[in-house]
Symmetry: none
Subunit: 206 residues, 2 copies
Amino acid sequence: MNIVIVEDHPLVVQGLVSVLTLECDFEIKGVCSNTLEGIELIRTKHPDIVLIDLRLGKESGLDIIRAVKELNIDSKFIILTSSVSYLDFMMAEELGAEGYVLKESLPEELIYAIRVVGRGRKYYDPELLDYKLKKDENNYNDKLTSREWEVLRKLSLGLNNQQIANKLFISENTVKKHMSQILAKLGLHDRTQAALYVKNLEIVKH
Amino acid sequence: MNIVIVEDHPLVVQGLVSVLTLECDFEIKGVCSNTLEGIELIRTKHPDIVLIDLRLGKESGLDIIRAVKELNIDSKFIILTSSVSYLDFMMAEELGAEGYVLKESLPEELIYAIRVVGRGRKYYDPELLDYKLKKDENNYNDKLTSREWEVLRKLSLGLNNQQIANKLFISENTVKKHMSQILAKLGLHDRTQAALYVKNLEIVKH
DNA sequence: CGGGCAATACTACTTAAGTAGTATTAGAGG
DNA sequence: CCTCTAATACTACTTAAGTAGTATTGCCCG
């Protein structure tokens, strides 16, 4: 099982190496800490498994997956991250990552995930998977409409309902209606959380 | 140099152990992954240095520092975190942490920090320190008191007043008082704007 | 020692936010 | 043509947020 690691925290790399080299059927073919090097490593080594951190400084590990999938290389990706953000998980899954393991999980779980994914199946963190199933059941997962995004964007500028209403030339009542809808769809409790949600989305995109 | 590690990511612990045991004058006296065990470990082992992660699942490593300082144990604390948030750094410094090292720094930097702090001096991540000096010069940001920053930090997690009160063990009335004060000092109108303000501060360091 | 400030807490009040339910209109699509 | 949905708007209600003013405690500093 050939493995490539893309991870920008040296201590985590150290931990990964010392854990994975104990498994005699694992071989680490390369380590790097940014997206460009990562893509190059995968293109030249054709590893079975790529362990990849979502947040690489200012970059995102998702960009590597996107790029590699387009090159028709069939390496499997296991996301290794400390983010418990459901949004991150959702995006990784949609991009076709075969695995998603949290850094706070035990090394055994990671090793298990590598073997499972190596056999062509998928392994996602159980807690996040549960959460997804619950969301799907309750159909909370609806995406926001374009108008709701507009309201949300105004909110993320720090405007109150009246100001949003003026900007969009609608009544405050309608803004409230949209706002309720937004909170329900995103599973949030108030506008402050919604504003933070948008801000976090913006950070991920960078 | 006796060391205790409080860290909830097993892989990082693995990395730390394999890096620190190479230094023959370092000895790891204990490892744990939550605040209660951490305080107990420090109380019984009296280590010279405590390496401590800021984010321990839902808990905060800062609580350990606060508790230990009250017990009059003179262990030195080095924060080891992946947070590049200036606010986290500021709060750690105010609480009396002797060191602040980012997980994305090289092991050599951590080892250097441990030796420096062991000799009774302080070691803070140079980039964060630069940022602080610049802020202090321009007198931008010393408006809020440390308690107000704590309230603001909780707010930026999306908590409401009652939840903030519970976290900080004070009444909701007091939180409201702080919140009014914060909004007045920052020249903002509501908590959503305050949350966005914090989020923008955090982005500054990216 | 006394002054000032930070932190705590309270009451009482006002306003913004959010929920629930209903209704109308316009447009997209089977 | 009919159905479904998004967008608009309203009322009525409940709760969270924010303001104003007062008071106490503890601490640091000149």
